[in-house]
């Protein structure tokens, strides 16, 4: 019982950072201040800008329903771009993920190539892909869909590969002990176990695609984005308001459907 009294001293709640950590914190704060300054942050300008914003809203209200039919068509096109692009991209990402996941399949050379491809797909912004595909296949939704497909392949390729690396190795090893080929264990053991992650990742990719397909319209790659730009450029704020509300509705519906499906998948269905 005497041991109880000989406990070590109570540790301090906060430790002083090491000199190196202190420099890192200071540097971080300096970069933040520098960035705010460089982008011209000023509360007074924001305050004087607020009436202009109020003016925009008062002129945008009530939203104009005049062009609703043609706007709806453009919205549907946006949705189709997102669905088609995401599906194609997710399909392309499966082989990319298999070859880029550690310890699955292929020679080191193929693994490096696959990882490099995924990295390029992911790091080049979708807007840049859209500009490239507009040059390749011309203005219109096909260019946008291709841009979404490539962007999704990069996004899903990375997360699919991570999901495959994370699954329990036991089932695949047990089958390999019986002489089953790697390629078979990937499809019968690794991918089924990783499938919830595949599905939730694809749903996130779809939500991302809906938002980006709006932006892609701005560079002429199809969808409702172009309508929004035209309306804004022509000061047709009531129409712009309608477009914004339509986009908002679509994004909310997709996200809700995504949340619902994700929940069901994670609950084990």
């Amino acid at each position: 019982m005497t041991d109880r009294t000989r406990t070590s001293p109570v540790p301090a709640r906060l430790e002083w950072p090491s000199p190196l950590a202190f420099i890192a914190y200071a540097l971080g704060i300096a970069v933040l201040v520098w960035s705010l300054d460089g982008t011209g942050w000023s509360l007074s300008e924001l305050a004087t800008g607020l009436p202009a914003l109020a003016d925009f809203f008062s002129r945008a209200f009530p939203p104009s329903l005049e062009r609703l039919p043609s706007l709806s068509t453009a919205l549907v096109e946006t949705f189709q771009m997102a669905i088609a692009g995401t599906t194609v991209g997710a399909l392309i990402s499966v082989p990319l993920a298999i070859f880029s996941a550690r310890g699955q399949l292929g020679t080191r050379w193929i693994n490096t190539l696959a990882r490099g491809t995924v990295a390029v797909f992911r790091t080049v912004p979708d807007l840049v892909w859209a500009l490239i595909f507009v040059i390749a296949v011309g203005l219109g939704p096909f260019a946008g869909t291709l841009a979404i497909a490539v962007d999704t392949a990069g996004f899903c390729g990375r997360f699919f590969a991570e999901a495959m690396e994370d699954v329990d190795k036991g089932p695949a090893e047990a089958l390999q002990a019986q002489g089953v080929r790697r390629i078979d264990t990937i499809f019968c053991a690794v991918i089924p176990a990783a499938s919830p992650a595949f599905i939730t990742t694809t749903l996130f990719a779809l939500e991302k695609a809906v938002r980006s397909s709006v932006v892609l319209g701005l560079v002429g790659a199809g969808g409702i984005g172009l309508e929004l730009k035209v309306a804004m450029d022509m000061f047709d704020y009531p129409t712009a308001a309608t477009i914004i509300l339509l986009i908002f509705g679509l994004v909310v519906i997709i996200e809700q459907a995504g949340n619902y499906t994700r929940k069901r998948v994670l609950d084990g269905h």
């Binding site: 036991g170 089958l175 002990a177 002489g179 078979d184 019968c188 176990a193 919830p196």
Partner: protein, 263 residues
């Protein structure tokens, strides 16, 4: 031909038992450390059931991994079906493994798939390809074999149940069905009943030993349950202090004699 050779031939047993597994002077170690065991030699004949026992860390699992070619021996050699594992190319090793069934302590089933799909996977070693990835795509022959294997372990009614909804004992029986569906000549098991409660463990061991015996396959299993070892094996091989300390028939043996392995 010399006279001596003729004489020797006369002494050969009438029906020599085929040797399925021969371990000769085997030593294994992990990454430059002291060997886990060394100088281990024994043979196992066709249809024999052998229990491999020893204290925690004695090297039972390591020995099984050597038998499956997952751990390369530091010394000595392993022959399965008369073929030296170290002489095989990877394709040949896979070919050889397709004649081996394996059951681990963890059932290692693929979650989210049905029991039947998991058992169909056992056919992949002999018939590779997409059709045997899922029971729904599988050829009629695969499905029939898989269902028969499930039936032998008493789970035919659970064929379309997802394996993540099965109990531990049921899961382990599905794993046994998967290991046996392709009718392996040699079955290896690493503590197949260790994660189960005593009753379920007893049942699973019972079913396992019976099904293996029915197919005439050779069985090597590790266990800490000396009752299981004595009841289901004809022979016990014991590891202790990095050496083969025991290789004896179970007939007439009592558990108390094996206590020495754990001192």
């Amino acid at each position: 031909m010399t006279v001596a050779a003729v004489r020797l031939a006369e002494f050969e047993p009438v029906a020599p038992r085929t040797v399925d597994l021969a371990v000769d002077g085997l030593a294994a170690c992990y990454a430059k450390r002291d060997p886990v065991f060394s100088g281990v030699s024994f043979t196992v004949g066709r249809g024999e059931a052998v229990a491999l026992v020893g204290a925690n860390g004695a090297g039972k699992s390591t020995l099984l991994k050597c038998l499956m070619g997952f751990v390369s021996p530091a010394d000595g050699k392993v022959s399965i079906f008369g073929r030296d594992l170290s002489s095989l190319k990877s394709g040949e090793l896979r070919q050889l493994r397709s004649g081996v069934g394996f059951v681990a302590q963890k059932h290692n089933l693929v979650p989210r798939l049905t029991a039947l799909s998991n058992v169909v996977h056992g056919m992949l070693a002999t018939s590779s390809g997409p059709r045997n990835w899922l029971q729904a795509l599988a050829p009629a022959e695969s499905r029939r074999c898989a269902l028969a294997a499930l039936d032998r372990v008493g789970l035919a009614d659970f064929a379309l149940r997802r394996v993540d909804s099965l109990s531990g004992g049921q899961s382990q029986r599905v794993a046994i069905a998967r290991a046996l569906v392709a009718e392996p000549r040699l079955v290896l098991a690493d503590e197949p009943a260790a994660s189960l409660d005593p009753t379920a463990g007893e049942e699973v061991m019972e079913v396992f030993a019976r099904v293996v015996r029915d197919t005439g396959a050779t069985l090597i299993f590790t266990t800490h349950n000396l009752g299981h070892a004595l009841a289901h094996a004809e022979r016990i091989v014991g590891l202790r202090g990095g050496k083969l300390a025991l290789d004896a028939h179970t007939r007439g043996m009592v558990a108390a004699r094996l206590r020495g392995l754990y001192d």
